[in-house]
Amino acid sequence: MGLDIRWPIGLMFTLIGALLTGFGAFKADYSLSLGININLIWGVLLLLFGAGMLLGAIRGKNDKP
């Protein structure tokens, strides 16, 4: 129905991933998460996931008439 759901999913996770990655690059205190900079790691992962969804959406666009 009209809208390819991969667009909003891709856009949202790219946005949230970028936010987390950016925040993780600056914030220093990670004592809660056992000293792991989880924001940076997880942010990058979300970015990749979001980008993958967007890629799928772009490809899907060309498939349809």
């Binding site: 129905m1 999913i9 949230i16 987390l20 925040f23 056992l34 924001n39």
Partner: protein, 641 residues
């Protein structure tokens, strides 16, 4: 629990999510032209989307909060709700039942019942279903508002109304399609939001092996009344079950588990509950409809690691003194803590029993006498701050609030940023549950009650409009149900109970209706009616040990006491199923069918031409995929035997 403060980053993530779900509703609203677009998605959605929505609609409060709570209470045995109580039924739905739901062109499960039997069964089913969805949705929203209140200090009423308003906004704009699309978004949000919490928890506890070791000490030191646990009571799924109800924390015997949960409750839920079946019915063609539950079965199989393991981690951590963590106690008002702190300060170390009694009176909760006595001694020797005493009291409270497990872990491990993500995931799970219920409710109410009995033969425009009104009414009723549910503690038990009453006999009706053409309308109706009645009677005459008669069963006297509520529920379901099955067969044999073989074509197995596989390669045919999934499921059971 102290409320925690969110930073701008957390709010930004939360707001981004809300903006996207509302945006999806807005983007879809221009496609909503008929009642079918709004209520059934006009059968237009691709498989992977309906598949993930299928699983996400079920991913409400029950899953995240309830399953983590059960993981803590019962350990890996909780996975029976997945590997025994979901996967086989989902495969059965895909392979055997979907052809009738989808092929009959019914718009809802009750409408199928009308086609197969008559109006009576449909009316009974649609009324029961409508009531049930409203309650399920209300329970879910109550849990959400309570969590937001406890965790963030947000006002209960505001949380409830604002979250409901968001759901209303996107469902009203984009109808079922909107609910399904946002459910897919929510699915990824939930998985990606909670996975890091599980990862950090497992890392903290020292890995899988260390967690199991700690859980073994939990099992051996358990002092649950009448129980006799082996070391593997929390870490093996089948062995404690086979050893009998006193040897597993669920207090369930093998028959109740396999027949009650694995067959009756599971098939009753996954194969006849319109909430999930509706997602498959929205698929774009028959193949997509049949593949929907199969796509859903893949993530479902691995969900225990996301939703049950956190509870196991929490219990394992509680048993490790070095970790400074406990399963949270019940939420207690600050003024009670203040009075309890006062009681600790005033207590005489020479008479600790009086001090313990005073603190218990102030808190309204039982405490561990030893822990509190040492706190009183410490407090008399050196001057402790209020905060130190409060922590001491908090740690000595005996009762566990298992529903608080998942949030306490989020709070423990999530720095700002990840915290926003995890909270958003939590919010997403509640919203997907509510939207799922509301979209199922509005379809059943509009087509099966309003159009069928109240206002017949109107234009489609009228029913499109009615569907929207029903959506608003459904949300308002859910809010009312949420306030009702706020008076009860264990949401999961209530849901199980309602499923037991309504769904357990229902599967007998469907099974006979779909696979035995001799089943008559009268047989189905009377069988189902008395089946539901018999479950109510069963509940009125039995009790779970530990519960006072008259509250959770035993209203009319106690004929039998079960070792646990779960056992009572599973037996109730088994009993109701058997009554419904036997009565439906007996009455069908004694009555004449009103339907000819021609009428039943496409509705009954033996009268429906087999679906031709077409050009689908054999390894993608539902039957083959189903067998593969079943094999994987068996392997999971063996691994955690």
């Amino acid at each position: 629990m102290e409320p925690i403060n969110l930073l701008w980053i957390d709010y930004t993530i939360l707001i981004a999510y809300v903006a996207f779900v509302i945006g999806i509703g807005w983007a879809l609203s221009r496609y909503m032209k008929t009642s079918a677009d709004f209520l059934t998605s006009a059968r237009s959605i691709p498989t992977w989307v309906t598949g993930l929505a299928f699983i996400s609609a079920n991913l409400g409060a029950l899953e995240l909060v309830g399953m983590a709570a059960s993981g803590a209470k019962y350990g890996i045995g909780t996975a029976h709700f997945y590997w025994l109580g979901a996967i086989p039924a989902m495969i059965f739905l895909a392979v055997f039942m979907m052809p009738f739901y989808y092929g009959s062109k019914a718009r809802s499960v009750p409408e199928y019942l009308k086609m197969r039997f008559d109006e009576r069964t449909r009316a009974l089913n649609s009324v029961a279903f409508a009531v049930m969805t409203i309650f399920a949705s209300g329970i879910s929203m109550n849990a959400l508002a309570k969590l937001l209140n406890q965790l963030l200090g947000w006002n209960y009423d505001v949380s409830l109304w604002v979250c409901s308003a968001v759901v209303l906004l996107y469902v009203l704009k984009g109808g079922l399609t909107s609910a399904i699309y946002t459910e897919v978004l929510q699915f990824f949000m939930i998985v990606l939001g909670f996975a890091p919490v599980v990862y950090l928890g497992l890392k903290d506890v020292g890995g899988w092996g260390a967690m199991n070791k700690s859980l073994e000490t939990v099992a051996l030191n358990s002092n649950a009344v009448g129980s006799d646990f082996a070391a593997n009571a929390w870490t093996s799924a089948w062995q404690p079950l086979l050893a009998g109800p006193t040897h597993n924390p669920m207090g369930v015997d093998i028959f109740a588990m396999v027949f009650g949960l694995g067959f009756v409750l599971s098939f009753g839920y996954w194969c006849t509950n319109f909430l999930v079946v509706q997602r498959a019915m929205a698929a774009k063609d028959m193949a997509a409809a049949r593949n929907t539950p199969l796509v859903a079965a893949v993530p479902k199989m691995f969900f225990p690691f996301l939703v049950i393991v956190p509870g196991m981690i929490a219990v394992a951590l509680t048993a490790m003194p070095s970790k400074d963590y406990r399963v949270p106690p019940p939420v207690i008002a600050q003024e009670n803590y203040t009075r309890a702190i006062e009681a600790v300060r005033n207590a005489n170390p020479a008479d600790p029993a009086a001090g313990v009694a005073a603190v218990e009176a102030a808190l309204g909760e039982k405490v561990h006498a030893e822990k509190l006595t040492s706190l009183i001694t410490d407090s008399s020797r050196s001057s402790l701050t209020d905060a130190q005493i409060k922590t001491g009291i908090y740690n000595s409270i005996a009762a566990y609030d298992y529903d608080g497990v998942i949030l306490s872990l989020v709070k423990k491990y999530c720095p700002p940023g990840l915290l926003g993500l995890a909270l958003t995931a939590l919010l997403a799970s509640f919203m997907s549950g509510m939207a799922g219920n509301v979209t199922a409710f509005n379809t059943v109410f509009t087509y099966d009650l309003y159009q069928a009995y109240f206002v017949k033969n109107q234009t489609d425009k009228h029913y499109f409009w009615a569907g929207k009104v029903v959506t608003v009414v459904g949300i308002l009723l859910s809010i009312a149900a949420a306030y009702f549910a706020s008076m009860y503690n264990n949401a999961m038990d209530i849901i199980q109970l309602v499923f037991g009453f309504v769904n357990a006999p229902l599967f007998a009706t469907f099974l006979l209706g779909m696979f035995w053409k001799r089943t008559t309308g009268t047989g189905a109706f009377v069988g189902l009616f008395l089946g539901i009645g018999s479950s109510a009677l069963f509940h009125a005459l039995t009790i779970a040990s530990g519960n006072p008669p008259g509250v959770k069963g035993g209203y009319l006297g106690v004929l039998h006491a079960f070792p646990s509520e779960m056992a009572q529920n599973f037996w109730l379901a088994s009993f109701a199923f058997i009554i419904c099955f036997v009565l439906t067969v007996a009455i069908s044999l004694g009555t004449k069918s009103q339907k000819t073989d021609e009428d039943l074509k496409g509705l009954v197995y033996s009268l429906t031409p087999k679906i031709k596989p077409g050009d689908v390669p054999f390894y993608l045919q539902p039957g083959v995929v189903g067998v593969v999934l079943l094999v994987v499921c068996v392997i999971m059971n063996v691994i955690f035997w």
